[in-house]
């Protein structure tokens, strides 16, 4: 019963392979928090999040650049969660913000696909854990190749049209801070991926559309979306 990772992402920096463990971060882009407005203080939430809000993108969701993502029957549109993904290079437990970046092997692009859902109180994993709902790639870029992960422009094109432009400069917790706060309670292992959070509003796409996510220095992650019957 060996663990298999159904996605091959080229990686030529340690740890040389992805573990298949991918975590996402909710509400870590200022635009995503702003989109909720005063609701963050109302029921069912009562207060803005204190610790990073994380979730797991399980291995059945992982799929490489170029793959077709199936939109489930009965779901008219899905959200494109265009994220910077951090690839862990060595075991990271209670790392300090000052040293956090040293624990990274590199970076890649993550498309955290979701069925649109609200509220964020206790959503069904059906919205984020569908087969193929986490394209990632196109390759892992070594940490040293990026001067500053907190100053990257992310562009989402749908069928060639620019639908979202955001920057990692607008993260609630910048990359090093996020790593410090996450590893305070859970160790990240070599090859794990932590997606740092998408901007809002997320572009929505339908079957038949083609999505390209471009991040400065990391290339372009392109996937097509298909209907369940196609």
């Amino acid at each position: 019963m060996a663990v298999t990772v159904p996605v091959a992402v080229p990686i030529d920096v340690a740890p040389w392979r992805l573990s298949g463990v991918v975590y996402g971060t909710l509400l870590n882009h200022r635009s995503a928090v702003a989109a909720l407005g005063a609701a963050v203080n109302a029921p069912p939430y009562q207060a803005p999040p204190r610790a990073p809000v994380l979730y797991v993108k399980p291995r059945n969701t992982l799929t490489p650049a170029g793959a077709s993502v199936v939109i489930p029957a009965g779901v008219p549109e899905v959200e494109v969660g265009a994220c910077l993904g951090l690839v862990i290079g060595r075991s990271a437990c209670r790392v300090s913000e000052a040293q956090a970046l040293e624990y990274l092997a590199g970076y890649l692009i993550v498309n955290d696909v979701s069925v649109p859902h609200l509220p964020y109180y206790r959503p069904s994993i059906r919205h984020k854990a569908r087969d193929g709902f986490c394209p990632l790639g196109p390759r892992v870029t070594a940490r040293a190749a990026l001067a500053d992960p907190d100053a990257l422009t992310i562009r989402v094109h749908v069928d060639g049209e620019l639908r979202q432009e955001a920057s990692t400069a607008e993260l609630v917790r910048p990359v090093a801070r996020l790593l410090a706060d996450v590893t305070e309670f859970m160790t990240l292992a070599p090859g794990d991926v932590l997606a740092v959070g998408a901007a809002a509003p997320a572009p929505r796409v339908r079957a038949g559309q083609r999505v390209s996510i471009e991040i400065d220095g990391l290339g372009v992650l392109t996937n097509t979306f298909a209907g369940a019957g196609s």
Binding site: M1, A2, V3, T4, S19, V21, Y23, L26, L27, P44, Y45, Q46, A47, P49, R50, A51, P52, V53, L54, Y55, V56, P58, R59, N60, T61, P72, C93, R94, Y120, Y121, R122, P123, S124, I125, R126, A129, R130, D131, F185, M186, T187, L188, A189, D192
Partner: protein, 257 residues
């Protein structure tokens, strides 16, 4: 058949139950060595893929937490860093008020499952083990509940001691569960009281995600959770699956001031 994975004398080994010459229980490594339980380091008994956990899957426990039944099973996912083997130690951070154990039946998938109907669901099960899935309620927030800081902490999901073949568990829907804290019975239940039973969970999950060999479903805990402190020994038992031990330790063991 009951199988464990243990570390001993510089290597990982497959192991099965054995009795020592003096009558104590122990393990027999695949290479023939017979050792006492305490002589080996116990790992989770299988290499886990996706770790799926159920909240509030026993009616009485849902009432205990004053919650309404939901329209679909309350499922969340965990990462592999949370896993720990039998006889391990779990950190209880200083200053928290309510950290509790959760004794659960863990179902290990043996064969890929997609859109499986209830009647065929158990054919996709490799076996079962005991899980003790700790939670720290102090850290619970109202965003993507249960948030990982409360429910996905390093070493706070204990699995084992054995992976017991499905063939040796004829009815996973009628297994008694018990938790003892320092030898005192604190939690008791039976899988017959699951709101969503094992076949229902496999049918539900496989309706929207492909389950693969090694994926594990922690089916939820019955009523009777209570706070534990550093130094407490927690033993979880399930009929036919054995007894899973864990000890709580304080921050000092981890060099945290």
């Amino acid at each position: 058949m009951m199988r464990a994975r243990v570390a001993y004398a510089g290597a990982l080994h497959g192991a099965e139950p054995a009795q020592l010459a003096d009558g104590r229980s122990g393990v027999r490594l695949a290479d023939g060595r017979v050792l006492a339980e305490e002589e080996v380091v116990w790992l989770p008994p299988f290499e886990a893929g996706t770790i799926i956990a159920l909240g509030l899957n026993y009616a009485a426990h849902a009432r205990e937490l004053a919650l309404q039944a939901q329209e679909e099973p309350l499922v969340f996912l965990k990462g592999p860093g949370a896993l720990l083997g039998h006889r391990g130690t779990t950190r209880r951070p200083a200053g928290v008020k309510f950290m509790h154990y959760e004794c659960e039946l863990a179902v290990v998938i043996g064969r890929s499952a997609r859109s499986v109907r209830r009647g065929e669901a158990l054919q996709h099960v490799a076996g079962y083990c005991i899980a003790n899935d700790y939670a720290i309620r102090d850290y619970l927030e109202n965003w993507y509940r249960p948030n990982l800081r409360a429910k996905n902490r390093d070493g706070a999901t204990v699995l084992g001691p054995w992976l017991v073949d499905a063939a040796d568990v004829p009815d996973p829907g009628n297994l008694g569960l018990r938790t003892f804290v320092n030898g005192r019975l604190t939690q008791q239940g039976n899988t017959r009281d699951l709101i969503s039973d094992v076949p229902a969970l496999i049918e539900y999950l496989s309706s929207f995600m492909t389950l693969a060999a090694g994926d594990v479903i922690l089916t939820g805990t019955p009523e009777g959770v209570s706070n534990v402190e550093a130094g407490d020994e927690v033993a979880c038992e399930i009929d036919g699956l054995g007894r899973l031990l864990n000890t709580l330790v304080g921050d000092d063991a981890f060099g945290i001031a």
